[in-house]
Amino acid sequence: MSIVQDPLWYKNAIIYQVHVRTFFDSNGDGIGDFPGLAAKLDYLKELGINVIWLMPFFPSPLRDDGYDISDYNSVHPTYGTLDDFKQFLAGAHQRGIRVVIEMVLNHTSDQHPWFQESRKSQDSPRRDWYVWSETDTRYKGVRIIFVDTEMSNWAWDTISKQYYWHRFFSHQPDLNYDNPAVREEMWNVMKFWLDMGVDGFRLDAVPYLVEREGTSCENLPETHAVIQELRAKLDARYPGRMLLAEANQWPADLRPYFGDGDEFHMAFHFPLMPRMFMGLKLEDRKPITEILQQTPEIPSSCQWCLFLRNHDELTLEMVTDVERDYMYDAYAGTKTMRLNLGIRRRLAPLLDNDRRRIELMNGMLMSLPGTPIIYYGDEIGMGDNIYLGDRNGVRTPMQWSGGWNGGFSAADPESLYSPLILNPVYGYQSVNVLSQKRTEHSLLSWMQRIIQVRRSTPAFGSGSIEFLYPANHRVLAYVRQLSNETILVVNNLSNAAQAVELDLRRYKGNILIEMFGRNIFPRIGDLPYLLTMGPYQFYWFRLRRI
């Protein structure tokens, strides 16, 4: 299979997010690498995903899991070589899998040669590549993102005796996008990878590119101008490639990042994710329908990216104080589960390892408008280790089997980049790919099935959505439609059986075909359509007029 030339391929994609370090170690040094990742491409193809999103794999001091890059045009030696990456990329493309990589635009590592040169003196030719100041009072009032570790957005540089601006860790100085040379150089970096064949970039921390006095230094028009410039260059030279925005913002603030279809192709829908968890715990669709009602229309060529969990904490920045308190109490009972304004847990532990809830959440992920992202290991229900620092508890080695190091590496267990999950519930002996492949009803098999159904249903990727609002608030129901294809989705958010009446009169005469078992349900008539649903059950129906 080769890559299908569809310019809107990202709208019907299933993205698999993985860090090369975590997936498979081919050389026995305890760290995953590109040859290892390439060796597991058949597994990913079998799972059904068609896009891999790779987290940063560039040379880096690794003080922020690779988001502190010290060389944009190479591969971190522990993960392999540039040739290893090229072979992996070719292998993925051969299997019809696209590859999206990280592009950390906003900042570099303080170990990057650009910064080292910039800090040498105030007269350095690269001085203006970063944001320097005599005082730490500029851009006063701009929020601090890593509130648990940083006291200020300014850090004092003892070498050049000035403050430098950083929105994240102090070892991650922000690049100065007012400098045309910086913009040009970052485009050169992107070209380097595009020429190699990567299919897109996830642009990290985009709202923060440009700073202006008297503003929040977020989402500024000048930042949008930078994006538009990059997009124009991309479309001109590399049509069919994709830009994905990481902008943890409210939907209304996110909307401008799509522009008129001339900025990002895709953006993460950050506020939806915590509300899906909230809706599930509250057994009430209100949080979900409310945020989707507030979500503006986007250009037809654009797409939202939806996710349940990722490599970061379950961010609670885009919720109200009341909601955040509730989420902490509901999902992070102990302080060790919390980080910054979020919850550092994986999907299965968040849902008490309840298979019904895991399936329901994945069902919503796959059927709400957007492209779903699966975080590596969540397809088998991997657990986490809240006793590891920072977000490392959700970045433990992939669990392939019940054998040595969970099949991840032949190295001594003590030398792994991270301890494996060992506890009896989520440990690799219990939760692993090999054992789940042997079972038809395992979570992995179920995930394969739902991905298959999702991929065969274009309405999920590109169709419209209409909420039905049945009087039973525990039920979230919507219709996805694309040309002649009409899909009815009904989700029971409650842990108890529910009866729900749906007003489907406008679809009168259609019969319902349940999309997993393909069983026929009664024809729609004039009366409200009555469904009874088990706890956390969901239905996908294809409407057919026969």
Partner: protein
């Protein structure tokens, strides 16, 4: 993705049609609405009948109270309407919590359900309460509160005051205490409170509340009683609920709600009021004989805030008319009283009826004996029970004349002391009740 139509607008409760399945007090439509609400933690019952002029602020206060005090709990407002013709149910179900977000900066985590049902043929607090209890049981509500639609001065705080003791501290019944005008609530102060206190040994100041909270457990037990098949049980359902709680093994407390105001309305006729309260109280004595006959004295119950407050605002009462009605009652109902009262009591009543207004006193002891003899006669059905209750009306007026006279210039403390003395008299003479209860036919 934006739909442009608010969810509130799309989930309006349909107009109910009063059509009951055989043996059911709930309409199919109401059951359908309850299915949609599902299991809840908190239920607010709102019985209404043509309350369009007052219901808006009441519903707003309930919504604010719920969002403030129970932001995470599953809650529902259940409106049980006795056939309003002024659109009251629409005002209840149409009140949007979205408005509160702007006005009160309150945010609802989850859906606050608001549903409505109607019953027929005529307004009945008993049917309304029974419907609320049935809904509470079906929805498995842990804590419930009933709010009067005429409580025009309701504060959002009331919700917490009436529900917190139940939801958080496992009480079963929370009755209100109010700041009353000195001559307001005369029936409660002269009869209902002292008698229930003496009978059941619990000092509940408002045993006939219009705003009160109760646990799901108490609600279910009360719902299961066969009292609903009797007219008297229906008529005074609220006081019967309080009596059930006092007689049973339930945890009781009171919460101070402040001033109690009502929307303007015509004065309730005394006889219907006596039927609802005294009639129910007398009627319940048979059922709860094992409980009240073995208790003596009384004890206070935990009270949140003041137990009672009295203001000294003057209230115009036609004392002369009271006296006239007392005297005419004594004269006209002598044969009836002969069936109900002991010769000694009747003789004393006849004596005081001849006194000049300035010297007239209906002393506490005589009043208590009168009431106890009426209760015993009711128990024995010496004549029609309804006639017994009606016959109490002129005597009650005589007693009220005395209460007004004794407290005309009294301070707050004086009035409270007099009520307390009367209570103690009811307690002291409780053996007399047992004597006449078990005595002559």
């Amino acid at each position: 993705m934006s739909q442009g139509i608010s969810e509130q607008a799309q989930v309006e409760a349909p107009q109910t049609e009063v059509k009951l399945a055989e043996g059911s007090i709930l309409t199919d439509d109401f059951i359908r609405q309850l299915i949609n609400v599902g299991q809840i933690d908190i239920l607010v019952g709102l019985p209404t009948h043509n309350n369009a002029s007052t219901i808006g602020p009441v519903v707003s206060a309930i919504q604010v109270g719920l969002l403030r005090a129970f932001p995470r709990e599953r809650a529902a407002i259940i409106n049980v309407d006795g056939g309003s013709r002024d659109g009251t149910p629409d005002l209840v179900t149409g009140a949007s919590i979205d408005d509160l977000r702007h006005a009160s900066n309150l945010y609802a985590l989850r859906t606050l359900h608001s549903i409505s049902t109607q019953y027929s043929p005529a307004p009945s607090s008993g049917i309304a309460l029974r419907t609320i209890l049935a809904a509470a049981e079906l929805l498995q509500a842990r804590a419930c509160v009933v709010i009067s639609p005429e409580s025009t001065n309701i504060e959002p705080d009331w919700i917490a005051r009436l529900l917190h003791p139940i939801y958080n501290d496992n009480y079963d019944l929370v009755t209100p205490t109010y700041r009353r005008q000195k001559f307001e609530g005369l029936l409660v102060r002269n009869l209902i409170y002292p008698m229930t206190r003496a009978l059941y040994s619990w000092r509940i100041r408002e045993p006939y509340p219009s705003d009160f909270g109760f646990s799901g457990q108490l609600g279910s037990q009360f719902l299961a009683q066969n009292a609903w098949s009797h007219e008297v049980g229906q008529t005074g359902a609220e006081i019967n609920l309080a009596i059930t709680a006092m007689a049973g093994d339930f945890r009781l407390c009171q919460s101070f709600l402040g001033m109690k105001l009502h929307a303007d309305r015509t004065a309730t006729d005394l006889v219907p009021a006596l039927r609802q309260t005294v009639g129910t109280l007398f009627w319940s004595l048979d059922n709860h004989f094992p409980a009240w006959s073995t208790r003596s004295g009384s004890q206070p119950i935990p009270t949140q805030g003041a137990e009672s407050e009295v203001t000294l605002e003057p209230v115009r009462v036609n004392r002369q008319r009271l006296m006239e009605m007392f005297r005419s009652g004594i004269a006209e109902l002598e044969s009836v009283f002969k069936s109900i009262l002991s010769p000694a009591t009747l003789s004393e009543l006849n004596r005081i009826a001849t006194l000049e207004e300035a010297e007239f006193r209906y002393p506490a002891e005589l009043w208590v004996k009168t009431i106890y003899e009426f209760a015993a006669s009711y128990h024995k059905s010496v004549i029609s029970r309804d006639h017994i209750v009606q016959a109490l009306a002129p005597l009650y007026r005589g007693r009220i004349f005395t209460f007004l006279t004794e407290n005309r210039n009294g301070t707050t403390e004086d009035i409270e002391n007099n009520v307390e003395l009367l209570c103690l008299e009811f307690e002291r003479l409780k053996p007399y009740l047992l004597e006449v209860w078990n005595g002559r036919e």
